[in-house]
């Protein structure tokens, strides 16, 4: 796992070999779909996942891998397309927003049936959204915290009342918070919905054996059933990347999630297989502890020994550290050139990306030393860096250590078991932590929780009233150009204060048998199989 990530993101980062399409090292260009080859009806598509999904309940689900399974059986009010634009799925058109920005009206697609044959209507949407907001243990509650209430306007229209204007709402409803569950099934199963989930989707839940497989079968009630080709999808759990790859080669599975970076070249070279790639929405980097003394979400406070030091107290020292790092070299040495260097939290493929959002400081160890001299610190300056205790995590740490030495830093690596690292860094017991984020469609999801004062993921203890204000402004306006500009300014501010040093961005990889067509993968990394099947 990567240095920088929160758990699931970590898995994504490392298991995914990342790279720009051009850097994969083959003449055949990599794509995000299996193309338009005709696909015949019938057959069982076997998809190997890298991890066991957690509960198949959209309200309670937390793992990224679970989203791939949901994408085949639980549609959402909105979805994203390959250009990362929000498009309607169960909604009939994009939402309309009131002048004050506090009421969002959504028309529901008509004539849509759940897998149990009951009808989708506004009441069903309200039931699901209310459950997401209020069920104990809901993983969606914080995503929908801006929602004050949901009203049924008529059988095909809901109005969502907001506490304050919240532009990212449509993006939130394009993820699990927008999944609508059958009210009849919810009533019948209650909190045990995960053992027999019923939604609207091209496939419906059939069976699950823990640690082994999840089986879905084609849903004849699906509103677009003609597009669905395969009769059945079997998700198998194959945690080991080599085993996953071998099973694809032997034909025992048809699609594999996240082939390892080391297998990417072999996968591309094999004429029986195809590689799908897409940019990732997330980032990897280093979080620096500026003022997280009492724990994440607690008010920032000056650090105490052994975590206090010039890194926390002097922005010049943090800049010196960043200047000593060579992002290109890290990508080349640690990730075989398969990732992309990154200097900000917004993917270049996002409509919210701008020159300001992608601005990158140069690699300049001489300038780094100069800054350290200005700051009056004795070199080499000792700093500690927590890295994930994995081969990739340690290699990244060693690369950072070697580069920072040139800039005048003596980096003490602390390889730590990942869960333990998260516990320690949440509690503020660290100086620097190599961690990252899997990414969200709306830039707010990549920024707000990390850099706003007392944000839920702000383990740096960073606080800047200007940043807080601009994040709130960007949430409050639906004008894309204005939001793009605000995010550019926020990133410039963050780069000035440097609570986070963004380093690189992964690329999503999926391996597919050449016999299979219709598989799609967008930057969210989800393997979409709605129209997938075996080629004619």
């Amino acid at each position: 796992m990567s240095p920088l990530l929160r758990p699931a993101a970590v898995l994504v980062a490392f298991a995914l070999a990342a790279s720009a399409c051009s850097s994969i090292g083959s003449d055949e260009p990599a794509t995000s779909t299996t193309g338009d080859r005709p696909v015949k009806a019938g057959g069982t598509l076997r998809v190997a996942l890298a991890e066991e999904p957690d509960r198949l309940d959209p309200t309670l689900a937390r793992t990224l891998v679970g989203r791939t399974v949901f994408s085949a059986m639980c549609e959402k009010l909105y979805d994203i397309n390959e250009k990362l634009e929000i498009v309607p799925q169960l909604a009939d058109g994009l939402p309309t927003i009131s002048a004050d920005g506090k009421t969002v009206t959504i028309k529901i697609r008509s004539g849509v049936k759940f897998a149990d044959g009951t009808m989708l209507d506004a009441a069903a949407v309200k039931t699901s959204l209310d459950r997401h907001r209020t069920l104990t243990g809901s993983a969606r509650a914080s995503e929908l915290s801006s929602v004050a209430g949901v009203d049924v306007v008529d059988p095909s229209t809901v109005a969502i009342r907001l506490k304050e204007p919240f532009a990212p709402l449509a993006a939130v409803l394009a993820d699990r918070a927008g999944m609508i569950m059958s009210p009849a099934a919810l009533k019948a199963r209650g909190e045990d919905f995960a053992s027999g989930p019923v939604c609207v989707g091209p496939f419906k839940f059939s069976s699950r054996v823990a640690q082994d497989r999840i089986e879905l079968v084609k849903d004849p009630n699906y509103y677009d059933a003609d597009k669905v080709k395969a009769d059945k999808i079997v998700y198998e759990i194959i945690a080991d990347s080599t085993t996953r790859f071998n099973n694809l080669r032997s034909g025992d599975v048809d699609v594999i999630d996240r082939p390892a970076a080391t297998d990417v070249d072999a996968l591309q070279a094999d004429s029986n297989l195809r590689l799908l790639t897409s940019d990732s929405l997330g980032y990897q980097g280093i979080t620096l502890n500026l003022a997280n003394r009492d724990g994440v979400t607690k008010p920032p406070a000056p650090l105490t020994a052994p975590y206090a030091g010039p890194v926390a107290s002097d922005a010049r020292v943090r800049h010196a550290f960043e200047l000593s790092l060579d992002r290109e070299a890290i990508n080349r040495v640690v990730f075989r050139g398969k990732y992309q260097p990154a200097c900000g939290p917004i993917s270049p493929s996002s409509p919210y990306s701008s020159d300001a959002a992608q601005k990158c400081p140069p690699h300049d160890p001489a300038q780094a030393k100069k800054l350290l001299a200005e700051a009056g610190v004795t070199t080499p300056l000792k700093v500690s860096l927590v890295v994930a205790n994995t081969p990739d995590g340690r290699r990244l740490g060693e690369a950072i250590q070697a580069q920072a030495r040139e800039g005048g830093f003596d980096v003490q690596l602390q390889p730590t078991e990942f869960s333990a690292a998260l516990d320690a860094t949440d509690a503020g017991k660290y100086q620097m932590f190599a961690i990252g984020w899997s990414g969200r469609v709306d830039p707010d999801g990549n920024i707000a929780s990390f850099v706003t004062t007392q944000g839920s993921l702000n383990i740096a203890g960073y606080s800047n009233p200007d940043v807080d204000r601009m994040v709130a402004q960007a949430r409050a306006t639906n004008d894309q150009a204005q939001r793009r500009d605000l995010y550019g300014q926020i990133i410039a501010k963050v780069q000035e204060d440097l609570p986070l040093i963004y380093l690189y961005r992964t690329v999503n990889f999926t391996g597919v048998s050449a016999k299979v067509g219709g598989v799609k993968m967008y930057p969210d990394g989800i393997i979409r199989v709605t129209e997938a099947g075996f080629t004619e």
Binding site: D54, T136, G137, Q211, E236, I238, N246, L422, L457
Partner: protein, 319 residues
Amino acid sequence: MRRYLLRRLLESVVTLILVTMVVFAGVRALPGDQVRALAGEEADPAALEQLRHEYGLDQPIPVQYARYVAKAFSGDLGTSARTGLPVADTIRHALPVTLQLSAFAVVIAVLIGLTTGVLAAVRRRTAAEWAANTVALLGLSVPNFWFGLMAVLIFAIAFPVLPASGFVSVFDNPVESFRHLLMPAVVLGSGLAAVIMRQCRSAMLEALGADYVRTARAKGLGGAQVVLGHALRNSLIVVTTIVGLQLGVLISGAVVTEQIFVLPGFGKLTIDAVFTRDYPLIQGVVLVTATAYIGLNLLVDLLYSVIDPRVRVGGAVAQ
């Protein structure tokens, strides 16, 4: 006899309680708890606390343990923290996989081990003995994961004659079951086959030099009859003991084999449960394993006491 039985039962219960207590505390001593592992990157501290409260993880460990034991007594092993599925169902699906794999592995190990062992003993100082010894050495020294990967590369990818992964129960489709389990069983049984071969060889060498074999030969019995009917039959006592002793090793080897061949067995379940810090599942797995182990030991002890009355008398005296 009744006192002896009671004492052994009591000891078993105490052992079981101790094992579960150690595991219960042990998994909680691992850094990062099940909520942290489950929450992944979406680790809003307030949500984590809420989940910990929901799972009762904010209670003192003795309280958590008491609750667990109370439920376990009524047959409720809880639900998996990760999948939300009942632990008992999950274990029920996994157990037959490992049992079928292990049984097949033992059959293969015995077949290979006995054949090569007998051959090595009978054809002493020939190429056959050398070959058998080499096979045994390889079986002992090649790690399962490497052997497994090579087998997949050769028999599933280069010459696709066997499936690379998956499980079919022998009761559902014996032919497909055989095809799916052949590679994993050979890989798993290879170490045991080597042990059996060496033991069989030395036992056979001893037997072939024994008086009763010389007598059998003197009576004019044929070579095969002497080797198989007399020498091997006596050597089997040693071999049987070895197989019994090695069963535990075999089942722990199934952990690796199940990972390589993606068999949804007990070993894979255990490893995955530990990695995801799935407390209820880890506890369930340990409880079932410990109960089975203690139960078997109890049975064997009781059988000893039936066969050899001195055991039970000794036990009574010791009291």
